[in-house]
C-alpha cells in the first residue's frame, strides 16, 4: 500500500484570515497588559481575608432577630418596600415607554431620521447613570422610596422602549392592512391590530424589566432612595456582619422568587 495514503490532507490555510486573527489576539493581549499598569494591587487591606470570612460566616449565622420585629425597619418590610419600588417604577416606565417605542421604531415613519433620533435619545437615557438620577430626584422629592420609584421609572424607559420598539418592528403588516381595507381609521388600526398583536411582547418585556428593576431597587438604597440597600450599607459600615449576612440572604431569596414567578408567567404567555 502507498504510505502517503495514511496521512490526512493538510488543512487549507487562509493566510489573510490567519493574519487578522493574530492581529486581533495581539491587540487584545496588549489591551489587557495595558489595563494592568497603573492599578495598585498592593493596596488591599491586610484584614481582607478576615472580613471576607466574617461576611461568609455571617451568611451562615445570620441575625435572625432582624427578619421581622414589627418596627417597619426589619428585613421583611424593607424587602417588601423594595418590591413595591420596582413594581411602581416598572409600571411608570412601561407607560412612558410606549410613545417612545413608536417614535424609535423604524416602520412607522416617512423620514428615516425620525426613528434614528428616537434611538439616539433612548441610548442617552439608558446611559444616564441611574444613581445620579436617583440623587436628582432626592433633591426634588426628598430622600425615600419615592425618589427610587421615579429614578427607576425614568431610567428603565431607555431599555424598555428599545425592547418595545424592536417588538413593533417585528410586527407583521397583514392585520394592519386588513383593518385599513375594511375601512378602519388610524385609531382603529392601533386599537384592533397593532395593540392586540403587540400585547404578549409588551407584557413579556415588562416582566423581564421587572426582574432587572428588582435588582436596581435593591441598590438604590445605597444613595438613600429607599429599599433594602440602605440598611445594607449601614450594616457594612458598622461591621455588623451577621446583619449583612441576613440582608444578602434576603435579597438572594427575593430575587430568586421574583425571577421564578416572572419566568413562569412569561412561559405561559408564549
Amino acid at each position: 500500500m502507498d504510505t502517503t495514503m495514511k496521512k490526512l490532507p493538510a488543512k487549507p490555510v487562509d493566510r489573510k484570515k490567519q493574519v487578522a486573527h493574530w492581529l486581533i489576539a495581539i491587540a487584545t493581549i496588549v489591551i489587557i497588559v495595558w489595563s494592568c499598569t497603573g492599578i495598585n494591587f498592593g493596596g488591599i487591606k491586610a484584614t481582607a481575608g478576615q472580613i471576607a470570612g466574617a461576611i461568609f460566616s455571617g451568611i451562615f449565622h445570620p441575625d435572625w432577630s432582624y427578619v421581622y420585629n414589627g418596627s417597619g425597619e426589619d428585613l421583611i418590610s424593607q424587602l417588601w418596600q423594595t418590591i413595591c419600588i420596582a413594581f411602581l417604577g416598572t409600571f411608570i416606565s412601561a407607560i412612558i415607554s410606549l410613545p417612545f417605542a413608536f417614535w424609535a421604531a423604524h416602520t412607522k415613519h416617512k423620514h428615516w431620521y425620525t426613528s434614528r433620533i428616537g434611538k439616539i435619545v433612548l441610548a442617552i437615557i439608558r446611559s444616564f447613570p441611574e444613581i445620579v438620577l436617583a440623587l436628582m430626584f432626592i433633591k426634588a422629592v426628598g430622600p425615600g422610596s419615592a425618589a427610587g420609584v421615579l429614578a427607576l421609572g425614568f431610567h428603565s424607559v431607555g431599555m424598555l422602549a428599545k425592547l418595545f420598539s424592536e417588538a413593533i418592528e417585528n410586527l407583521e403588516e397583514g392585520p394592519n392592512e386588513a383593518v385599513i381595507a375594511a375601512g378602519g381609521s388610524k385609531f382603529h388600526v392601533i386599537m384592533f391590530s397593532t395593540m392586540p398583536n403587540l400585547m404578549p411582547a409588551l407584557i413579556s418585556n415588562t416582566l423581564y424589566r421587572f426582574d432587572v428593576s428588582i435588582r436596581s431597587a435593591s441598590i438604590l438604597g445605597l444613595v438613600g432612595a429607599g429599599g433594602i440597600g440602605y440598611p445594607l450599607i449601614i450594616a457594612l459600615q458598622y461591621r455588623q456582619w451577621d446583619r449583612v449576612g441576613i440582608i444578602l440572604l434576603g435579597i438572594i431569596i427575593m430575587v430568586v422568587i421574583i425571577d421564578w414567578i416572572s419566568g413562569w408567567i412569561r412561559k405561559k404567555l408564549v
Binding site: 471576607a52 446611559s127 435593591s218
Partner: protein, 263 residues
C-alpha cells in the same frame, strides 16, 4: 341569508384577564401606598429638579483634565473585570455542562452556586468588596469579575450544551482524554459565541464601572460623588457627558464587532 351572519362572533370573556387586571390595580395601589409616591410633589418641586438639569447642561469643560485619568482607570477596571470573570466563567461552564461532565450531582451543586451568584446586583458586589479589600479600583475589579462571571457563565454553558455531539463521540471513540475532547471537539464549535458573549459582558461592565466609584470602588464614579456632594452640577454634567459618550461609543463598536463575528 340568515341575519346572524352579518354579525361578528362575540368576543370570549376571559376570567383570567379580569383577575390579572385586578391584581395589577391592587399592586399599583399597594405600591403607591408603601413607597409614598405622590407625583404632585414632583411637580411642586419641579423647579429644583429642572434647575439641576439646567446647571448640568452647562458643563465645565476645564474639569476634563481631572476626569480624563479617572476615565482611563474606569476602562482598565472594566477590561480586567471582564477578563478575570470570563476566564473563571469559561472553566466553570465546562464543569456544569451536562454533555461534558456526566455526574449530575456535581453539575447540580455547581449550578445552584452559579444561580446564587447571578442574583447579586453589581453595586452590591461593589459595596461588599469595598468592605473586604478597602477603597480603590481593586474592589471594583473584583466586583466586576464576579458580576461578569454571573452574566456569561449561563450563556457559556448553554452554548456548550447545544453543540453537535458528533465530534465529541468521534474523539471519545479514538480514545481522547477530556482535555483533548475540549480542545478539538468543543472549542472550535463555541469559540465565536464565547467571544461575542465576552464583548457583551464588556459593554455591561463599562456601564457598571462608571458608577462603581460612587461607593468607593474606583473609577470615574468617585468624581461623580465628589461633585454631587459639593453641588457642583456643572462638573457633574461634564462627567455624565463623558460617561454617555464612552458608553455609547463602546456599545457601538462592540455590537458591530459582534455582528461581524456572527456572520
Amino acid at each position: 341569508m340568515p341575519e346572524q351572519v352579518n354579525q361578528l362572533p362575540k368576543r370570549k370573556f376571559k376570567v383570567m384577564n379580569l383577575v390579572w387586571t385586578i391584581i395589577m390595580i391592587a399592586g399599583l395601589f399597594i405600591s403607591i401606598n408603601v413607597t409614598n409616591t405622590h407625583i404632585s410633589v414632583l411637580f411642586e418641586n419641579w423647579n429644583q429638579f429642572a434647575d439641576i438639569f439646567i446647571q448640568m447642561s452647562h458643563p465645565d469643560w476645564s474639569y476634563l483634565n481631572v476626569v480624563w485619568p479617572k476615565l482611563i482607570e474606569t476602562i482598565k477596571m472594566a477590561v480586567l473585570g471582564t477578563v478575570i470573570g470570563s476566564v473563571v466563567a469559561f472553566i466553570y461552564s465546562l464543569l456544569i455542562a451536562r454533555n461534558i461532565v456526566k455526574n449530575k450531582a456535581v453539575t447540580g451543586v455547581l449550578r445552584v452556586i452559579m444561580n446564587i451568584v447571578r442574583t447579586i446586583p453589581d453595586l452590591l458586589l461593589g459595596a461588599i468588596f469595598v468592605a473586604i479589600v478597602g477603597i480603590g479600583p481593586v474592589a471594583g475589579i473584583l466586583a466586576l469579575a464576579v458580576f461578569t462571571f454571573g452574566v456569561v457563565v449561563k450563556l457559556f454553558y448553554e452554548a456548550i450544551e447545544t453543540i453537535d455531539p458528533g465530534p465529541i463521540e468521534a474523539l471519545t471513540a479514538v480514545g481522547a482524554n477530556k482535555l483533548q475532547i475540549i480542545h478539538y471537539a468543543v472549542m472550535p464549535q463555541i469559540i465565536t459565541y464565547f467571544i461575542s458573549y465576552v464583548l457583551y459582558a464588556f459593554e455591561i461592565n463599562v456601564r457598571a464601572s462608571t458608577v462603581l466609584g460612587y461607593i468607593g470602588a474606583g473609577g470615574i464614579g468617585l468624581n461623580l460623588q465628589q461633585t454631587l456632594q459639593v453641588f457642583n452640577y456643572a462638573q457633574t454634567g461634564t462627567i455624565i457627558i463623558v460617561i454617555i459618550v464612552v458608553v455609547v461609543l463602546i456599545d457601538y463598536v462592540s455590537s458591530k464587532s459582534r455582528e461581524a463575528l456572527m456572520k
